[in-house]
C-alpha cells in the first residue's frame, strides 16, 4: 500500500512542473501584458512603461522569469498580484471557501439525484422511464452553463420571484467572516434569516453548476448497474429469494459504485472549470470569477498561481480517490 502511494506521489513532481511550464507559456503567449492592460486609450509614456516593466520584473528574459517563478513557488511564494499587490496565496484563500461551498453543494446535488436516477433507469431499462432519464441527462450534459444559468435566473428569480438573482447573501446581512463558508458564517452571526438567505442564494448556482456532473453520474451509474445486474452473483442472490430491494442496494449498487466513485473524483476538475462560468453569472466571489478578471488584466502572478493551486486541488482529490480505490479493490493496488 505504501509503495503504491509513493509511486503515485512520485508522478506528482513532473506533473507540477508540466503545469507550470504550460501555464507560464500560455499566459505569455496571450498578446499584451499587465502594464499595457493598465493603460487605456490614452496609452502610457514609453519611459514609464519601461520603468513599470522593470519594477514587476517583466523585462527579464522569459526563461529567467520562469526559473525564478518555479523556485519561489517551490518555497510556497506565489508572488503578489500586480493589480492589488496582495500575495496571491492570500487572495486565493480569501476566495476559495466560496468556490468550495458552491462546488460541494453542486456535488451533493449531483450525487443525490444522479445515482438514484441512474439506478432507476437501469432497472427500468428500455422503458419510457429509462428513455426519459437518459434524454434529460443528455440535454443537461449538452447545455451551455451560462445559458442554463441565465434561464434559471429569468424564470425562478425574475418571473416567479422565488429565489434571489445573484450574490451569496441578501445585502441586509453582513456577517463577520469566520470560516468563509456563508452557510456556517450566517448561523454564527446569529442574525435572524441570514441562514435562510444564504441557502436561497445557493439554490440556483448549485443547480447550474451541478447539472453536468448530475448528467454524467446518472449515465455512468446506469451503465455500471446494467453490467452488474447481469452478473452471476446477482442472479444467485435473486435465486436465494432475497428481496429485490436488497439485491439492488446491497449486491448490485455497491459493486456498481466503484467506477462511479472514480467519476466523482474526476468531476472535481469539471466543477472547478464550470465554476468559472457559474461564478461570473451569479456574481459569486470565488476563484473562478477572480481568475477571469485576472486574465483580463493580464495579472500574470494571479493566473499562474490560481491555476497552479486549482491543479493541485484536482491532483490531490484524484490521488485520494486512487488511494481509496486501491483500498476498496486490491487488484488495483498490486498492479504494476
Amino acid at each position: 500500500m505504501i509503495s503504491f502511494i509513493l509511486r503515485r506521489l512520485g508522478v506528482l513532481i513532473p506533473t507540477f512542473l508540466g503545469i507550470t511550464v504550460l501555464v507560464f507559456a500560455l499566459i505569455h503567449l496571450i498578446p499584451g501584458d499587465p502594464v499595457e492592460a493598465m493603460s487605456g486609450e490614452r496609452g502610457m509614456e514609453p519611459a514609464r512603461y519601461a520603468a513599470l516593466m522593470t519594477e514587476f520584473g517583466l523585462d527579464r528574459p522569459l526563461p529567467v522569469q520562469y526559473i525564478d517563478y518555479v523556485f519561489k513557488a517551490a518555497k510556497g511564494d506565489l508572488g503578489n498580484s500586480i493589480v492589488t499587490q496582495e500575495p496571491v496565496l492570500r487572495e486565493f484563500l480569501d476566495r476559495f471557501p466560496a468556490t468550495f461551498e458552491l462546488s460541494l453543494c453542486a456535488m451533493l446535488f449531483a450525487v443525490c439525484l444522479g445515482i438514484p436516477a441512474g439506478v432507476i433507469a437501469a432497472l427500468k431499462r428500455n422503458t419510457p422511464i429509462d428513455y426519459g432519464v437518459m434524454g434529460v441527462s443528455l440535454t443537461g450534459y449538452s447545455m451551455p452553463i451560462f445559458w442554463w444559468a441565465l434561464l434559471l435566473i429569468l424564470f425562478f428569480s425574475v418571473h416567479l420571484g422565488w429565489t434571489p438573482v445573484s450574490g451569496r447573501l441578501a445585502i441586509e446581512f453582513d456577517p463577520a467572516r469566520v470560516t468563509g463558508l456563508m452557510l456556517i458564517d450566517s448561523i454564527l452571526s446569529g442574525e435572524e434569516g441570514a441562514f435562510l438567505s444564504a441557502v436561497s442564494h445557493l439554490i440556483l448556482p448549485t443547480i447550474a453548476l451541478g447539472t453536468i456532473p448530475l448528467a454524467t453520474l446518472a449515465r455512468m451509474t446506469r451503465s455500471a448497474m446494467l453490467e452488474v445486474l447481469g452478473e452471476d452473483y446477482v442472479r444467485a442472490a435473486r435465486a436465494r429469494g432475497l428481496s429485490p430491494l436488497r439485491v439492488v442496494v446491497r449486491h448490485a449498487l455497491r459493486n456498481a459504485l466503484i467506477p462511479v466513485i472514480t467519476v466523482i473524483g474526476l468531476q472535481v476538475g469539471t466543477l472547478l472549470a464550470g465554476a468559472i462560468l457559474t461564478e461570473t453569472i451569479f456574481s459569486w466571489p470565488g476563484i473562478g470569477k477572480w481568475m477571469v478578471e485576472a486574465i483580463h488584466r493580464r495579472d500574470y502572478p494571479v493566473v499562474q498561481g490560481g491555476i497552479l493551486l486549482s491543479a493541485t486541488l484536482v491532483i490531490v482529490v484524484n490521488l485520494l480517490v486512487d488511494v481509496l480505490y486501491g483500498v476498496i479493490n486490491p487488484r488495483i493496488r498490486h498492479a504494476r
Binding site: I30, P31, G32, D33, E36, A37, M38, S39, G40, E41, R42, G43, M44, E45, R48, A51, L52, E55, F56, N80, I82, V83, T84, Q85, E91, D94, R95, L150, I153, L154, S157, V158, G161, P164, V165, S166, G167, R168, I171, E172, D174, R177, T280, I281, F282, S283, P285, K289, W290, V292, E293, R298
Partner: protein
C-alpha cells in the same frame, strides 16, 4: 408608583409600536471590482467610481450632469492675469472620516492639499513609494508635473499653484478623480504607528460616504458621512453589488435587488423602456468614435482620397444598425455637449457619385486596396467594431475601394496603432476632464503623433498653433473661437471619418429620487439621492 409604571409601560408600548428605524439603503449593481481605494493610483472608471466619487472631494468639482467646474473643497479661486498663478481659498470646517484606525483631530486645511500634491509630484516624498508597484498614472498622463512649477501654502486656508506656462485646462485637471484630497494627519499617524500601508488600504476622505467594508469581488458597503460639508446624505447606506454580467445586472434591477445598474446592453433597452418600475435615464456621451486615416500611408496622404472616403460612408446606416438609437452622428472631433462645439460645420454628405469623382480626380479611378483595422473589443463609443467594419467595407466597395478587415488583441492593437502600422484604424476617445483641449491636443496635435494618440499621424502647423494658443488663453469665449476654427481645419483636411457620439443609458428604479447622471467623469454621485418605499 402605579402611574409611573403606567407611563413607563406606555412609553415602552409606543416604542414598540413605531416601526423599527428603517435605514435608507441604495444598492447599485456595478460591473467590476475596484483595483483599490486610492484614486491616485488607477485610471479605470470602475475604480474611481468606487473610491473618489464616494469617499473623496477635490478642490474643484465637476457639476453633476455638466462639464462646468464648481467649488469643492476650495470655495473660490483666482487666476492671475498672466495665467501663471492659481490661488485657491479653502473651505473651513470640512471634516475627514472617522474610522476604526483614525479619528481626525483637525479640519481639512492647506497641509492636506500639499500632502496630496507632493505625494504624487515629489519622488522623494515619504509616501511617494508607499505601496509597491503603484504609480501615479493620471498625474503623469495629464502632465501635471510639467504644468505646475510649485505649490505654496500662504496660510492654513490659502494655497497657490504656480504654473510654468499658462495652461487653461489646468483647472479642469484639478477636478479629476486623481486629485482627490487625502488627509495628511491620517498619513502621519499611520506612519507613526508603523503601518503606513493602511493609508492606501483603508481610505479616509472628506466625501459624502465612508468605507464600511469591502468583501472582495462581491460587495462594497458605504455609510453616510455624518459630518459631510454639504450636509449628511439622505441615504444611510450605499452598497455596490458587484455583478459582472449585464443580463444579470438587469435581472437584479427588475427583481428590485438593485436600484441602479451600470452599462445595460443595447439589445435590452427596449425591454427596459417598457418596464414600468424602471426609469431609463440618458446622457449624451462625452466621447467620439472615429476611423483615423493615416496620412503617412498612401493613398491617404492625398486629401481628395480622404474626402472621398468620408463621402462614401453611410453614417446614418451605421448608427441605426450598431448603436440602435444609442448614439448621434458625429461630424466634429468633439461631442455637441462640449463647449466650443462648432455646429456651423457642414458634414461631408453621403454621396457615392461625388466620392467617385473625387477619387478620379486623385488619379484613382479604379479604386484601391486598403486595410481597415477594427476594434477587437466593445468600447463605450463603439458597441460593435467588427459589425461597423463590415458596413464600412460594403460602403467602400461601392466606390471601388477594397477594404481588408484586420484586427489584433486589444493591447496589441493599441501598441501597433501607436506605432503607426495601420492604414486606417477604428478608434475612439472618452473625455476625462470636460475640456476641449483634452480632445484636440490628445488626438490631433503634432505632439500626439510622437506620443501615439494621434492615429491619423497628421501634423498641421496652422491647427497646432491654434490649439496651443487656445490652451494658453484663460478666457473661455476666446478659447471657444479658436477651437471652432480648429474644427474647420480638421473638417477640410478630413483626416478622420468621425462616426458617432454614443449616448449613455442608466436604468434606475422609480423608487430612487434626485439621481442625476454625471457627464464627466462617468461616476455615480449619491450625496443628494434619496429612496422612497418600494
Amino acid at each position: 408608583m402605579l402611574r409611573i409604571t403606567a407611563i413607563a409601560s406606555g412609553l415602552l408600548l409606543s416604542l414598540l409600536a413605531t416601526p423599527a428605524f428603517a435605514a435608507k439603503t441604495l444598492v447599485y449593481c456595478s460591473e467590476g471590482s475596484p483595483e483599490g481605494f486610492n484614486p491616485m493610483f488607477y485610471t479605470t472608471g470602475t475604480t474611481h467610481d468606487a473610491s473618489s466619487a464616494q469617499l473623496f472631494n477635490r478642490l474643484v468639482e465637476f457639476e453633476v450632469g455638466t462639464t462646468n467646474i464648481v467649488p469643492g473643497l476650495a470655495t473660490a479661486w483666482e487666476i492671475s492675469p498672466d495665467g501663471l498663478s492659481y490661488t485657491f481659498k479653502l473651505r473651513k470646517g470640512v471634516k475627514f472620516h472617522t474610522t476604526d484606525k483614525f479619528t481626525p483631530t483637525r479640519d481639512f486645511n492647506a497641509d492636506d492639499v500639499l500632502f496630496t500634491w507632493n505625494r504624487m509630484a515629489d519622488a522623494n516624498h515619504p509616501f511617494h513609494k508607499n505601496s509597491p508597484g503603484t504609480n501615479y498614472a493620471y498625474f503623469q498622463d495629464m502632465g501635471m508635473a510639467k504644468i505646475v512649477d510649485k505649490v505654496e501654502k500662504t496660510d492654513d486656508y490659502t494655497v497657490v499653484f504656480k504654473l510654468k506656462a499658462p495652461v487653461a485646462p489646468f483647472l479642469a485637471n484639478m477636478a479629476m478623480d486623481f486629485m482627490s484630497i487625502q488627509s495628511a494627519e491620517f498619513a502621519s499617524k499611520m506612519k507613526a504607528a508603523g503601518t503606513p500601508e493602511v493609508v492606501d488600504r483603508e481610505p479616509v476622505g472628506t466625501g459624502p460616504f465612508r468605507l464600511q467594508s469591502y468583501q472582495k469581488d462581491a460587495v462594497i458597503r458605504y455609510k453616510a458621512h455624518d459630518k459631510y460639508y454639504e450636509g449628511r446624505p439622505k441615504l444611510d447606506n450605499v452598497i455596490f453589488a458587484i455583478t459582472p454580467d449585464a443580463s444579470v445586472r438587469l435581472a437584479k434591477v427588475k427583481a428590485g435587488e438593485c436600484q441602479l445598474m451600470a452599462y445595460p446592453k443595447p439589445a435590452d433597452l427596449p425591454a427596459i423602456k417598457a418596464d414600468t418600475s424602471i426609469n431609463l435615464l440618458t446622457k449624451e456621451g462625452l466621447n467620439i468614435g472615429y476611423i483615423a486615416l493615416n496620412v503617412e500611408k498612401k493613398p491617404f496622404d492625398n486629401k481628395l482620397v480622404r474626402q472621398a472616403v468620408n463621402m462614401a460612408i453611410d453614417k446614418k446606416g451605421i448608427l441605426d444598425t450598431i448603436y440602435q438609437g444609442a448614439g448621434q452622428v458625429a461630424k466634429n472631433p468633439i461631442p455637441p455637449i462640449m463647449w466650443s462645439y462648432n455646429d456651423k460645420i457642414k458634414d461631408y454628405p453621403y454621396n457615392v457619385i461625388k466620392a467617385k469623382e473625387l477619387l478620379a480626380k486623385a488619379g484613382l479611378k479604379d479604386g484601391f486596396e486598403m486595410e481597415l483595422w477594427y476594434l477587437p473589443v466593445q468600447r463605450p463609443y463603439n458597441p460593435d467594431g467588427k459589425r461597423m467594419a463590415e458596413l464600412v467595407q460594403a460602403d467602400l466597395a461601392k466606390i471601388g475601394v477594397t477594404a481588408k478587415l484586420v484586427t489584433y488583441e486589444w493591447g496589441e492593437y493599441r501598441k501597433r496603432a501607436k506605432n503607426g502600422e495601420h492604414q486606417a484604424v477604428m478608434f475612439g476617445w472618452s473625455g476625462d476632464n470636460g475640456d476641449p483641449d483634452n480632445f484636440f491636443a490628445n488626438l490631433l496635435s503634432c505632439d500626439a503623433v510622437a506620443g501615439g494618440g494621434n492615429f491619423a499621424r497628421w501634423c498641421n502647423q496652422e491647427y497646432d498653433g491654434i490649439i496651443k494658443k487656445a490652451a494658453s488663453t484663460a478666457q473661455k469665449a476666446e478659447r471657444s473661437k479658436l477651437y471652432e476654427k480648429a474644427q474647420e481645419i480638421v473638417k477640410e483636411e478630413a483626416v478622420w471619418v468621425p462616426i458617432a457620439h454614443s449616448v449613455r443609458f442608466e436604468p434606475v428604479r422609480k423608487s430612487v429620487v434626485g439621481y442625476k447622471t454625471a457627464a464627466v467623469p462617468t461616476n455615480h454621485y449619491f450625496s443628494k439621492v434619496d429612496v422612497t418605499g418600494k
